[in-house]
Homo-oligomer: 273 residues x 2
């Protein structure tokens, strides 16, 4: 990494002006965003909101109108339908919003952003637990083998990593704040690990969802009780869900790499280019 | 972002010692890695090499011993088998090595690292083109519909993004070097975009491969010509390929977020924690 010209003089000015380390990056007028940065920011916020809510509505539409709606243990086939809805809600919509809010929220105090980030993930936990229970119950009632397909293996890893991230994140970034100064180096070391594993887990959830959707779509395509027209419509709906999930993955990856510092702002340490 | 205590004094010392901006980050003795950082580095290098080569060998093993080997237009079923091998080689093994080499190579001059990064991606292009041609020819010969499944849609987006990234990366980070100072701000603005879209494209390639593998596995599971034992073995092989691909995705995501600066080294600008 290179230190950009003038950073020493900037530091000197800042030191003379006093208390530079109490100023957050985005509060510094030197780092004010230009019109282009704001447009990019708004585009990401609007597009990701539409897609994260849209994929949930699309899955709901598919399950309600083409898979026979919901039920609990009394109708195992319909109980299974809770699985895609709850997993997409927990692993994609809620987790996606949680990640984006943490990264893109600029106006709220940082501790509140952390709490909102944790809250969204916490709400995702019962969704995931119920989603897991519904497929487990439904498989047992229909005497299907559990943990046989690639989807189930990936799902197991995703759930394990999600729980691990939640527990470690909760203790490191919230509980450890009770002793803020002493835990600083530990927390700063954990930031890139938590962020990269979080992003990896989000993609893992997307890969798992896509495998599940394809397994279901292939099953539907061989179902003799369905008309060719219905099979074709379901094929397009499930493919659209899969494609939306992958587009969400791309946007979230793009958004989290984007720091609060736009490319045009002054930075003190840069990537090697 | 906060400016860490003492950075001003460090800058002052550096300014007195002279020419701080000509020193690369990893050349500075203050940023020397400790034993733990080296262990983590070696673990990532060894594990990713094993997995990137391993997934290619596993796919080769599956195709050679369970799918009847390779051929060109004279045997369309065997011609199709070139598709998984060439796509995994181009989009996963070569692209994966290219990304990791760029991010993890510490001892070679930066321009050489860039050229190696480009070389690996350039070698991936004929693999991808041949892989695409083989499935297209095979589908036409077997009178199968093209661009029908989610796998094909995702594959189309992945190929388009790969080409776009290659062309833009080539012009921005290599051709523009002919006028190094004037293009600095443009290149520095492009770094996070190229890196995040590259990572997104790598995950897109993994999601596409996993969907393709599952589609093939579901097809195999319904094939009356295969024995139940063979179907089960193929199921485990394809699931293992899918799982390996996802693990590769996680490791690469983890490795690229890791800068050349280990968490324990001194940094001047930190994340908000």
């Amino acid at each position: 990494m290179d230190i950009i010209n003038g950073s020493f003089i900037d530091q000197l000015n800042r030191a003379i002006r006093g208390k530079p380390k109490q100023k957050r990056y985005e509060e510094d007028p030197d780092n004010a965003w230009n019109c282009c940065s704001w447009c990019e920011y708004l585009l990401i916020v609007i597009l990701s909101t539409i897609l994260l809510v849209g994929v949930l509505i699309l899955t709901l539409f598919w399950v309600m109108f083409y898979r026979g709606g919901f039920a609990w243990t009394e109708r195992p086939l319909q109980q299974f339908n809770l699985h895609p809805i709850l997993m997409v809600a927990g692993f994609v919509t809620l987790s996606g919003f949680s990640i984006l809010i943490y990264r893109l929220c600029r106006c709220v105090k940082h501790i509140y952003v952390k709490l909102i980030h944790m809250f969204f993930h916490a709400v995702a936990i019962p969704c995931i637990a119920l989603g897991f229970l519904s497929v487990f119950d439904s498989h047992n009632a229909l005497q299907k083998v559990n943990f046989y397909s690639l989807h189930s293996w990936l799902g197991f890893v995703t759930m394990g990593m999600f729980l691990l991230q939640f527990v470690i994140g909760f203790f490191t970034f919230l509980v450890m704040l009770c002793c803020e100064n002493k835990t600083y180096s530990c927390r700063s070391a954990m930031v890139p690990i938590h962020a990269s594993l979080g992003l990896a887990n989000f993609w893992l959830a997307i890969a798992t969802s896509v495998t599940g959707i394809i397994e279901k779509e292939r099953e539907t395509a061989k179902d003799p009780n369905l008309s060719a027209e219905n099979q074709l419509i379901e094929h397009y709906i499930t493919s659209a869900i899969g494609l939306t999930l992958v587009v969400i993955g791309i946007i979230v990856t793009f958004a989290v790499r984007r720091t609060n510092a736009p490319a045009s702002a002054k930075v003190y340490v840069t990537e090697r280019i």
